[in-house]
Symmetry: C2
Subunit: 244 residues, 2 copies
């Protein structure tokens, strides 16, 4: 068995077991048994279990974020200088992710579920390298959203981005978590429909009227402030108008 072969078998087995048992329950003995390789192979090829976890994420995340940025590039080139529509930006970021989740050959929904759940995990170790791996792509998308929504406070955009990540995470978790809401009357096998459903929801959330924030929550975001009494309604109006 060639080196590349062993590495791949370990990565695939580890990913699959992480998805349906978690990092800690998936022992190296289980992983290597499923991969059909020797127990010591993990430490030989990856150095440690933590390094293996890291690599499981790296190989998929680099591909995912490459695709996202490629799509964003394409859209921005097409737009020839004009700011993108928010729906286009969401499509590039979340659409690509859902496409990956639907693609069995590229890790399938398993990896995306694993990813969504790892965001909120307490381990400093995993959050650290997720942040690193995401930094570049997220930065580009943040800028695109700022440009597309100049009237919306940047902090508000960041929060809504965060909320959208949560909605996507649960969307991809699918039936697993969904059976809390309803076991039977929901069909989570149709990924095309899921994409449309999630996209409508996300756009609705992103374009929602701005919240009535208590005065204390006002924060300098770099742009000129607006008279307080008018601010919310004005902003809400402008958001509703310029989107789609």
């Amino acid at each position: 068995m060639s080196e590349a072969d062993t590495r791949l078998r370990i990565l695939d087995a580890a990913e699959a077991l992480f998805v349906d048992s978690g990092f800690e329950s998936a022992s190296l003995r289980l992983i290597t048994a499923k991969a059909g390789v020797n127990l010591a192979a993990v430490n030989y090829h990856f150095g440690s279990k933590d390094a293996l976890i890291h690599e499981v994420f790296r190989r998929r995340l680099s591909w995912l974020n490459d695709q996202r940025l490629r799509e964003l590039d394409r859209l921005e080139t097409e737009a020839t200088g004009k700011p993108l529509k928010p729906s286009q930006i969401l499509q590039a970021f979340f659409g690509v992710a859902l496409k990956m989740a639907a693609d069995q050959d590229n890790g399938g929904s398993g990896f995306m579920r694993l990813l969504g759940r790892t965001y909120t995990q307490p381990s400093e170790f995993t959050r650290r390298f997720l942040a690193e791996e995401y930094a570049a792509a997220v930065g580009r998308f943040k800028e695109a959203l700022f440009l597309a929504l100049p009237e919306v406070p940047r902090e508000e955009i960041l929060w809504r981005f965060h909320f959208m990540l949560g909605a996507m995470s649960y969307a991809i978790s699918g039936a697993d978590a969904l059976n809390i809401v309803d076991k039977d009357s929901v069909d989570d096998s149709n990924t095309e429909a899921l994409y449309e459903r999630l996209m409508s929801f996300l756009l609705g959330g992103l374009r929602a009227p701005l919240p009535n924030l208590p005065a204390q929550a006002e924060k300098v975001t770099g742009r000129k402030s607006v008279r307080k009494t008018d601010r919310n309604n004005l902003a809400a109006e402008s958001v509703a108008v310029q989107l789609t």
Copy 2:
């Protein structure tokens, strides 16, 4: 030390450690050390570690869902037969949760973060009793939403409910997961502002125009079907009108 005292100290210590280390990293030795009790006390008072985990959730979840249902009762009494506004339903379900997350004395944000992350965890054991603990409350809220949005397909409502749970989960995770989006330019300490932000987002998502589903995704949901060509736009319009 009385029995009640030991039980409480263990529950509090376990909850705190589960929040910032996860179930598996929080060993019984760490938990009992933090609680200042003997290692064997956990198995004496709870029977096993799994039973302790279960009880950590039960005591807070029963309180949380009681509050939710109490609020829903109050609103329905006030409405005297008329269906509630979706915003009221969301306020009862998510508002109460965020209030609990802000209340340091009742477990604080820690427990809610733990709860949100446990939804998507792979362990059959945790998802099982979460579903049981939630079944009653979620059932009532589902019915309320069906009544409030008679024009929206029930399956769509269930999905959006699911998406909203994800957004709330990430909202409560707060800075922990948020630093993936942005470390500094966001203030997650103001829970009042967070409530307003999340509520706007959720309502926007819930009232979003219905998605254009591929024909195959059509599913019998018990209500009379509408002519396909008109369905989406019609429903979207009616949703936008009747909400707030």
